[in-house]
Amino acid sequence: MDIRVQRRDPILHISLQGRFDAVGARDVDASFGQSLQSGDKYVIVDMLQVDYLSSAGLRVILSAFQRLHRAGGSLAIADLQPYCRSVLEMAGFTSAFPIFDSINEAVSFMEGLIRDQYHTDHWDELETATLECGSFRMIPQPDSQSAMEVLGHVDDVLYSRVTPAHLCSKHFFETEYSIGLGGLGDRLDDYFPIMGEMITIGGTMVWLPTDGNDTPDFLIPQKDTGQVTLRTGFNVSISGGFGELMVFESSSPAGATMDTLYQALFHLARTRRPDFRGVLGVAILAQMPSVFGSGIKRSPIKDYAPENGEMITHSSNIAEWFDFDATPRHQNVTALICGVGVDLTADLSGYDQKEFHSVFYLHPAQGREQQTLLHNHAVMFSALPFPERPVNLDHEIKTVVNQGDFIDMRHLLDRSTIAKGLIGISTIQTFRRDPKGYKGI
């Protein structure tokens, strides 16, 4: 087997060419052995010119990966040929192993690991900010251009006039952070009449069917998340990643309310981010002392529209359409939150007004003399210990999804509280239609 090794510190690139069978595996193993001895921790294996892979090759890849992982590094595979990918898939490697379509993607993955390791090692030197509600530690992130991507229109929900023609479908991915109204199912009858609050986070889709049972339904696709389709009448997703990552600890053990926390985030955004325009998208791994939930009780479809022609949030309809918790529904839980918040004191005219208003409305349980407009959905799990020095949001969220005992999913009222949180923040630059969604079912 032809093996070319190139060092682009601190990443080692190994390009293979030929047949990755027992003979090839022997050569590659020797080459890995040399590299690992010289202390390399980050290895990318380019498989573009490998058209054959047997279990001997798999064993060498797996054992090199495990050795590097123990040393605090990683091994990523890039540019797999279809037959080789089938072998990796069959061996169950593709879901757990870092495999990328291109070298560039593998390099970004490695750079992320290297950055995370640096921040863990230099934890005490990271920038901090202390506000009345608590303290924040900033974990630097690469720059990103964030957008809110929208399917549907909030008015169609508020007037309960969603029809099958309004529905959109969308495949969702590991890193899809979105909230909205929707469901899962292949047949329209399975979900359309019972659509409810929904969230996608950490590669899962959770929704609260409005079938009267008040029991969330969730799905964690085992294989390729891109193959699962969610159905939605209204969905808002955070695109472009999180340009800010903060670890929050509240000053009081009772935690800070969502409202207080968002105000602090807006304050920090105003001082730290010249590109802050008034709207933030967030994803939070949170320890929540108390969760106050709310939920829509019916699918807001045309057939169920209120007879009086008013919004479902109108005082004459609201009791029939929404549940609001007067006392905490859950206490001391771990939650994964995805949400959006508007700083109503900011000048919001810079956003495309049509798209902006397709997303935001004043939630019925909240007063109108307020400075923030929040929309947060959360998935709750039995309390898990908060990670020691969390530096990677996707990784920590995935860990909760994999290890947590699922309890519930709700729309969060703003008086819900957070004691500790790992908060990813997108400084939203624009609102636009979601290109991943397509009309139809």
């Binding site: 069959m90 061996a91 490697f93």
Partner: protein, 146 residues
């Protein structure tokens, strides 16, 4: 019309010879009308079987032999592999543990798993200090799951 072939070959039981074994047998399978995907699966299963014989059966000494015989019976392509190495591990094969953490996963058993997954039938016999493996692959793949 599918053509029936009947042939035999003897090879050194050496991992360096495995690609040639695969080439000769898959070429015969192609002449019998096997499709590309089937040939690739047969090749991988053959590779796993012969590599196992060379590495474990003969302890990598390259002194033993592997005798192959292949033929078409109806829609099936049969490959019989004989060797005089150590007996195969006949413990009940278990599937690789897909649920376990990739960092802890054991790599053992993958070769046997690939053979069972990629063939339509696989049987093994030990008699007279001889191992006999029979691999069966349909000429035309009907399932499209892999």
């Amino acid at each position: 019309m599918k053509k029936s072939t009947e042939n035999e070959a003897v090879f050194h039981a050496c991992i360096n010879d495995v690609p040639e074994i695969c080439r000769v047998v898959t070429e015969a399978a192609r002449e019998s009308g096997m499709d590309d995907k089937g040939m690739w699966k047969l090749e991988l299963a053959l590779d796993e079987a012969c590599t196992n014989i060379a590495c474990y059966g003969y302890q990598n000494n390259c002194e033993g032999t592997i005798r192959l015989h292949w033929e078409c019976r109806g829609d099936d392509f049969y490959v019989t592999i004989e060797d005089e190495g150590l007996p195969f591990d006949q413990s009940e094969p278990t599937d690789p543990d897909f649920s376990s953490d990739i960092c802890q996963r054991k790599a053992g058993g993958l070769g046997r798993y690939i053979m069972r997954k990629f063939l339509d039938d696989l049987s093994y016999q030990r008699s007279d200090n001889k191992n006999t493996l029979i691999l069966v692959k349909k000429l035309i793949n009907t399932e499209d799951s892999d």
